[in-house]
Every structure is written in C-alpha cells, then in structure tokens.
C-alpha cells in the first residue's frame, strides 16, 4: 500500500508560519497535482513529504506508517527536482545506479533495473554520457530514470518541466502521464502551470497562502470552484469577474444586478450565504461567452485588443468594468478593435461569489456544464 495521508500538517520557519494545517488523503496509485501561485508552499509541502524539511506540527503517513521521524531515504519515496540535480561527475548509468549501489543492491539486480528504466525512457544509447553532454530534456529523463530505478512507493515531482522549452514540456508531460499509466505508482506533482495540472491530475490540490483552497478532479475545479480564488486560478484565459449586487432569491436562484448587464438570475443555491448579503461577484469563463447581435444582446462591449491564435481568437473587451472582459471566439471571427460587439451567455455557465469570495453552489452539478458549449 502506498497511500499518503497528511494530518493537520504545519510548517514554521522561526516565527513565520508557511503551512497552516494541511489535511489531505492521497489514494494508492493516484496522480495528485499541487498547484498554486508562487510562494504558496507547494515545494515546502512536497519537501516535508520527502523528509527534506522538518515537520513543525501534524503527521505525515505513507502506507499507513507515520514517517515524521523517518529519514528521506527510508520513506520509500523518490523525488525529481526542477534543476535535475544530477551528479555531474557520474555518467548516466552511474547516476541511476548510485542509490542502489549505496543501498547494497547486488550488481546484476542494479543492472537489470537501470536497463529497464533506460528502456522506458529511451536512454539506452546515452548510458555512458556525462550530464553535461546531455540536452535539457535528456537530463530530465535521467532524473526521472533515477527515480524509477529506486522503485519507490511514491514519486514526488517538483516542477520537473519548468526548465524545458514549450514543445519539450508538452512532450515530457505526455511521457510522465504514460509513465504513470505504466507504473501505476502514487505520484505527487508540483507545478504552477495549470495546463499541466489539468492534464496530468487525477485530483488537483489548489494551495493558497499555505492552506488548501480546494481539492478535486480537474473538471470539478473547473466547473465548481469553491471560491473566487480557485475560479480565477483554474482555467486559461482566466475567468472574467463583474461586480454585482444581490437583490434577492427565488425558486430559480439568485437575482443579481450587474451594472453592464441589468438584472439576471443565476441558478445557484443560497447555501451558506447570509440573509442580508448584498455584495457579490459574477464570474464567467471566456470560453462560455458567445458573440451575439449587438442590437438585442444582453451585454455590449467595445473591442480593445484582438489576439489571434489561429484556431481561436481572444477578444479583450471594455464592458465598463475595471478589468478588460475576455471572450474566447472562433479563429475566423472578423472583429476588429474599436468595434462594438454583443455578448450572450447561458445562465448555467455563470458563477456567483459572495463578497467574501466563497462560491454559491450550482443547483445542478456539472453534468450539464460538461457538455460542449460550442465555445
């Protein structure tokens, strides 16, 4: 069994607390991704799981065994670092074999394991090169190979792809995914790239200021963010937010008044929201907005910038709000800056957040939302 449990895990450096009581349960074989803005404590949490950082409070358990006081080498984990961290004076083979040699594994067994890892990662021809004779992608592969060879209970990755260029990053992302399918080992992966998080994770853990903001499958987080922070963090381009005033509740949901939009009904339930609450924020993802005839549309905006990516086009609009309102449209859209366009959005794609930033839950779960929006 190689599940991982964090119980009220706390980390302080002197008097500054950087992890404020994290609870998390990772199942055997699960691929969990930690995301969050820079400095939110992702690496710190991962390093605490690895045993490289002492645990100020709480418990970390691997496979049911509390490992707080167990050394990194005996926790049954392997870690892949952003900087690769290869031993420069050893060749690829030596790098991969090092831990095993040190653990006193016999030669034939080491050789078998290294060859197997080299096969999985396509490193066969590079086994006798030094790290400085390898490209970035090859180095990262060696670092992953070094982890595979140890046959760990849990793989830990700390932003392993962020030193690679964009094309290589996509390629390695797929390789890591295939590696997980093949090994079926528990993996914890830290990134601040939310595309990596969405594509790799079975479940995503969004961290914010040393606390877990939300845990869920990628689509849960996408469709049902718990808070305005998660809503803004997951999804690219970012969700649009509009100031709104809550005017009342009815059978259909919340009635809100939005300056550029008039009064609309958002199909959410009141759960948690207070009776007197009036301030709110309306959220809508760029890909859920549709262009409409300006004469009859619910909302209008002036095009500020047109970003053409080929297959799709992002329009940045001035709708009278503080921030530009972004709309994702078809690649062939003819809009030009200065033009006025009309906007429409299906009510169930709207998100409503209270003034404190908590989301009002949707009345229907995302089954309806997951269907193609034609965006």
């Amino acid at each position: 069994m190689s599940d991982l449990t964090l119980r009220n895990v706390i980390k302080s450096y002197g008097s500054t607390k950087v992890i404020h009581g994290v609870d998390l349960q990772v199942r055997d074989g699960e691929f969990v991704v930690f995301v969050g803005p820079s400095g939110c404590g992702k690496s710190t949490l991962l390093r605490m799981i690895a045993g490289l950082e002492s645990i100020t409070g709480g418990e970390v358990a691997i496979g049911g065994e509390i490992v707080n006081d167990i050394s990194p080498a005996d926790r049954g984990i392997a870690m892949v670092f952003q900087s690769y961290a290869l031993y420069p004076h050893k060749d690829v083979y030596g790098n991969m074999a090092f831990a095993l040699r040190h653990a006193g594994v016999d030669k034939a067994e080491i050789d078998a394991r290294v060859q197997r890892a080299a096969d999985i990662l396509g490193l066969r021809d590079l086994l006798h090169r030094r790290p400085k004779e390898l490209s970035g992608g090859q180095r990262q592969r060696v670092a992953i190979g070094r982890a595979i060879v140890r046959d760990p209970k849990i793989f830990l990755f700390d932003e392993p792809l962020s030193n690679l260029d964009a094309a290589l990053r996509v390629q390695m992302r797929v390789e890591i995914l295939r590696l997980h399918q093949r090994l079926k080992t528990t993996m914890i992966y830290v990134t601040h790239d939310q595309v990596e998080a969405m594509t790799l994770a079975d479940r995503i853990v969004v961290l914010h200021g040393g606390r877990i903001a939300q845990v869920g499958t990628p689509l849960e987080l996408y469709h049902h963010p718990d808070s305005i922070f998660v809503a803004g963090f997951i999804g690219s381009p970012k969700m649009n937010f509009l100031e709104a005033a809550l005017t009342g509740w009815s059978q259909e949901g919340a009635h809100v008044q939005v300056p550029s939009l008039g009064e609309i009904v958002v199909p959410v339930s009141r759960q948690g929201g207070s009776e007197r609450e009036t301030g709110a924020r309306l959220g809508i993802r760029p890909e859920h907005v549709q262009l409409a005839d300006p004469a009859t549309a619910a909302m209008r905006g002036e095009v500020l910038v047109v970003e053409r990516l080929g297959g799709e086009t992002y329009l940045h609009l001035d709708v009278g709000a503080a921030d530009p309102f972004v709309v994702k449209t078809d690649g062939a859209v003819s809009a030009r800056s200065g033009e006025h366009v009309g906007l429409a959005f299906p009510p169930h794609a709207l998100h409503l957040f209270s003034a404190s930033g908590a989301a009002f839950p949707h009345r229907e779960r995302h089954r309806t939302l997951a269907e193609p929006q034609g965006a």
């Binding site: 690895a50 490289l52 080498a73 870690m79 961290a85 031993y87």
Partner: protein, 290 residues
C-alpha cells in the same frame, strides 16, 4: 550585395578588432615580462661563476662565465635534501589540512542553520584581517609548552591556522551557490551527511579547491619567519631557511644562493601544474540547469 562601401567598412572593423586584440596582448605580455624577469634573472645567474654574476649580471651565461659551482655547492651540502623534504612535507601537509578542514567548515557554514553560524563567519573574517605574525610570541610560548619547538608539526599547525580563514571564507561563498537540490537528492539516495560532503560536495568544488590551494601554497613555501622562530634546528630547516647558510655575515656565496633558489622554484611549479589542470577542468557544468 558586396558593394565597395561595405567591404571597406568590413576591413576597418577587422583592423579595429586586430588592433584591439594586439593591445590586450601587449599589456599581458608586458605584465608577464615584469613578473617573470626576476625569476629568469635568478635562474640565469645560477649558471654563472662569481665573476660572471657580478661582472655581467644581465647577460646570458657564456663559455667565459658558465659554471655549475653553485649547484655543486648546494648538492654537495648533504643537509640540503633534508631542507627540501621538510619544505615539501610542511607545504603538502598544511595544504591538505587547509583544504580538507576549510571545505568541511565551509560546508557546515553554508549548509546548516545553527545558532552560532553568523558569529563563526565573523570570527573567520577577523582571522583574515589580523595577520598571524602578530601572535608570534604567543604561538612560540604555546609551542614551547606543547613541546613542539623544532618539529615540523609546529609549522604545519601554524600554516594551517594561517591559511584556514581565507579558505573557509572563499569556499563558503562558493558553496552557497551549489544547488541545494543535488544535496537533497543525495539525502533521498540515503547518503549520510558526511558522505554527502565527501562524495557529492567535494567533487563539485574541485576547481575552487585548486584555486585556494594555489594561493595558499606560495606563502607557506616561501615563508622564512616561522621556520626561523619555531623550527630552526638543522633537522627541521626548510629551504628558505637553509639558503640563509650561504649568506654569511661577511661573504655571500651568491652562486649557491641562486642555485638553491632555482631548485626551490621547481616543486612549486610542479604543484601549480597539478592544481591548474583542476582549475581548467570546470567539472560543475551540466550538474544543474544550463
């Protein structure tokens, strides 16, 4: 494409580049001449007889002035081999201690957070700023008490103390720039803290160790002060002290002095060649990103 204007411009830019390179080389050559000239003078004159040395000090030895009498005196002087051996033992042993202890201390200062870390670092800097010779009297007293006067160990200890502060200072600064990940990786691989130092950190800092070795070595080899005070017995004399026997109160055997100095240069050159290979090796590249 290749208009006359363009070729002309290309030519002037090439000229400018050549003249730039030439001036850089001129400066370097000039410096080399100034630095090497005294050494050359010593070596050249060591092959002349007494008359040659005083009569034509700046000319190369020729049939009239050539003589190996200086070398003959030095080599026939039986104890000179001992002096030489003493110098080598003292230099190599001190260097080893400076490098090993310095690297170990630097590793601890750079890697671990502990209470007196900052204080220790300041202590080291004070050690750089205060010349060790100010403590000569106290050192002599200490060595007398420890019964170490007229032993090579006394010199080794003093030179180690003299070399350590700078070594620790430089190595600490360098070790701070080492990737933390690679040490963490070794921790996950199951290495003890000692083996991380020996097997991961030391190989990474080889070029810097060589640098520190080169400039710690010269003052030790050349020192006259401490051998004179702490180890002037015939069995423990170093080369620099041994040379003094040719410098009498009334007459100086210049041939022998110059010959002894010429021979004394050789081991230092050898050690330098050994370390400079390391300097160039630049082994760190490729360890981490880049």
């Amino acid at each position: 494409m290749n208009t006359p204007v363009r070729t002309a411009r290309a030519r002037t830019s090439r000229l400018r580049r050549i003249s730039g390179t030439a001036s850089v080389h001129a400066v370097l050559l000039g410096y080399t001449l100034i630095a090497v000239f005294p050494v050359f003078l010593v070596m050249m004159n060591s092959f002349k007889d007494r008359r040659g040395i005083f009569g034509e000090p700046l000319s190369l030895p020729h049939a009239g002035t050539f003589s190996l009498e200086g070398y003959a005196t030095v080599l026939s002087e039986g104890s000179f081999a001992t002096y030489f051996g003493n110098s080598l033992i003292v230099t190599v042993a001190s260097l080893f201690l400076i490098l090993f202890l310095g690297a170990a201390a630097a590793h601890a200062l750079a890697e671990y957070r502990f209470r007196f870390n900052a204080l220790l670092k300041i202590y080291m800097i004070v050690g750089i700023m205060v010349p060790i010779r100010l403590g000569t009297v106290a050192i002599l007293k200490l060595m007398v008490d420890l019964n170490l006067v007229n032993t090579l160990l006394a010199l080794i200890l003093v030179y180690t103390a003299q070399g350590l502060p700078v070594a620790v200072f430089i190595l600490t600064e360098f070790m701070r720039t080492l990737s933390r990940d690679i040490k963490d990786c070794a921790r996950i691989d199951g290495l003890s803290e000692y083996r991380i130092f020996l097997e991961v950190v030391l190989p990474l800092i080889r070029p810097v160790l060589a640098t520190v070795a080169v400039f710690s070595m010269i003052p030790i080899w050349n020192d006259l002060w401490f051998p004179l005070i702490l180890a002037s017995s015939d069995a423990t004399k170093t080369v620099t002290l041994g040379v003094q026997q040719f410098i009498g109160q009334f007459t100086v055997n210049w041939g022998a002095v110059l010959a002894a100095l010429s021979i004394a240069i050789l081991p230092v050159l050898g050690l330098y060649a050994l370390f400079s290979r390391q300097l160039i090796a630049g082994i760190t590249s490729g360890a981490v990103k880049g």
